[in-house]
Amino acid sequence: MKFRAKIADAACLNHFTRVSCMVAKLARTCTLRIRPHALNFILADPAGGGVSMWCELPQENFFSEFQMEGVSEDNNAIYVELAAENLSRALKTAQNARALKVKLTNKHFPCLTVSIELVSVSSSSRMVTHDIPVKVIPRKLWRNLQEPTVPDADVSIYLPVLKTMKSVVEKMKNISNQLIIEANLNGDLNLKIESELVCVTTHFKDLGNPPSASENESEDRSPEQMAEVQVDIRKFLQFLAGQQVNPTRGVCNIVSHKMVHFDLLHEDVSLQYFIPALS
């Protein structure tokens, strides 16, 4: 099992750093999957069976050099678990870097080693090295970490500006922990929160709906009819807090009373986030 990659471009490095910061906000410990053409950050659903976060980076858009050798030829992938904050902290020290290298090493214990060559006024370069401890995930556990299938949603709708949503939801958190997200095929999305004393609804209109994948969806459903799901507001807020910039594209898929699925695209990095309905 070998992995070695290099980032030489400042813009790519900044983008990669932003992605790692986003992942660190969404997950404390996550799985990094390394394959020949992509990196994935995966957060498995603790309830078992499935993932709650799936982030994919096409490797060619970030790394000027990329070499990997998986566990075996048939299983050409590497799965390691790490503390997401270690990676984001390590990358943040690379602000004035000439080049950054990442590789899988074994220094007393398996590590993801990030080596940064800093710009220096003198002839000799300065090097910063971070050894991030990782746990190698054995093959038999890989089945729980596979790419999730896009759910058969009752309603798919484009998301409004996330910053606006976040400021609204932050205030709603003071009222209750249970948030209702509902949307229809008419471009309407509502966030509802209720307590004994008060009921607050925020309406987002004219958001637009992506073209539906299945024909049944548009035929059986009246455009005004809302699909709703009740979720833990803290999970939703955590998801929103992780998005520092508004995505290039953001879709919300609601499976009535079952779950909500967010599908974001930040330039070339895709992020999927699943929040189950409160039982």
Binding site: E117, S124, D131
Partner: protein, 278 residues
């Protein structure tokens, strides 16, 4: 500064005070490192703010290495991230130490004295000796002469015999054909043997704790020092090589006042004790 003196008063709970005089001598330290404080300030930036101790040493190729120090706990499975900064000797004004020497001291205190020295745009000289012996950080300009003495960890750091101090430091990466890996890069990175060992004991994996971002606690006994501008200060070890436990300390300057004007004279009694006899 003839006639200047610095006094330490060490007060225990009984307010029993003892005067101690600082005793240290930078000239007795065999090793010396001198650099602009700005350089050292930049060097400690990559370390986490909460990190307690750092190891400073000379690595291969006479590079100066700063590495985060984690106290090793035998039964702990929580591993912390290790950060290392390596600077070429050309960036130093003076470097008088051989490869392999290293000391571990309090990073928080170091950051404090660095920010002072940086603000005054001064160079910092680090006089040091074997692990356990105090390290003296000196700054000087036309107005002041400051010495900060920090305790160092007494047992030799596990890291000093470890990889980076003994392993050749890679020079700046050279341009290569895209698909050709540097042969030595993978040689020391071989994780296959670990993987094989792990896969055969996969049942016991579940008990392993996940890597955590928490840093392990600092060294025992606590490292300990204070610094002031104008003259020396130091801590005295009651046992050579180990810093004393923290006690309340106060510092008095007696530099400019002649004994007759000492402010420490007894104050006049303003009212007699009404409970007194007679």
């Amino acid at each position: 500064m003839a006639g200047a003196a610095a006094w330490w008063s060490s007060c225990t709970a009984n307010t029993d005070c003892e005067s101690l005089q600082a005793v240290f001598d930078p000239a007795s330290c065999p090793y010396l490192l001198r650099a602009p404080a700005k350089l050292l300030g930049e060097a400690v930036l990559p370390f986490p703010p909460a990190l307690a101790e750092v190891t400073l040493g000379i690595g291969h190729g006479r590079r100066v290495i700063l590495r985060s120090y984690q106290e090793e706990e035998a039964d702990s499975t929580i591993k912390a991230m290790v950060t290392e900064m390596s600077i070429g000797q050309e960036d130093f004004q003076q470097l008088q130490a051989e490869e392999g020497v290293a000391i571990t001291f309090c990073l928080k205190e170091f950051r404090g004295l660095l920010s002072f020295a940086e603000s005054a745009n001064l160079s910092l000289s680090i006089h040091f000796d074997a692990p356990g012996r105090p390290a003296i950080f000196a700054i000087k300009d036309s107005l002041l002469d400051g010495h900060f003495v920090l305790a160092t960890l007494s047992e030799p750091t596990p890291n000093s015999q470890d990889l980076h101090f003994s392993e050749p430091c890679r020079p700046a990466p050279q341009r290569q054909a895209h698909s050709t890996p540097q042969p030595d890069d993978f040689a020391s990175d071989d994780i296959d043997s670990y993987m094989i060992a792990m896969e055969t004991t996969v049942g016991s994996e579940s008990s392993r704790t996940l890597p955590s971002i928490s840093l392990s606690p600092g060294l025992q006994p606590p490292c300990n020092s204070e610094g002031e501008e104008d003259e020396a200060e130091a801590e005295l070890s009651t046992v050579p090589g180990t810093p004393p436990p923290k006690k309340f300390r106060s510092l008095f300057f007696g530099s400019i006042l002649a004994p007759a004007h000492s402010p420490l004279g007894p104050s006049p009694v303003l009212a007699e004790d009404s409970e007194g006899e007679g």
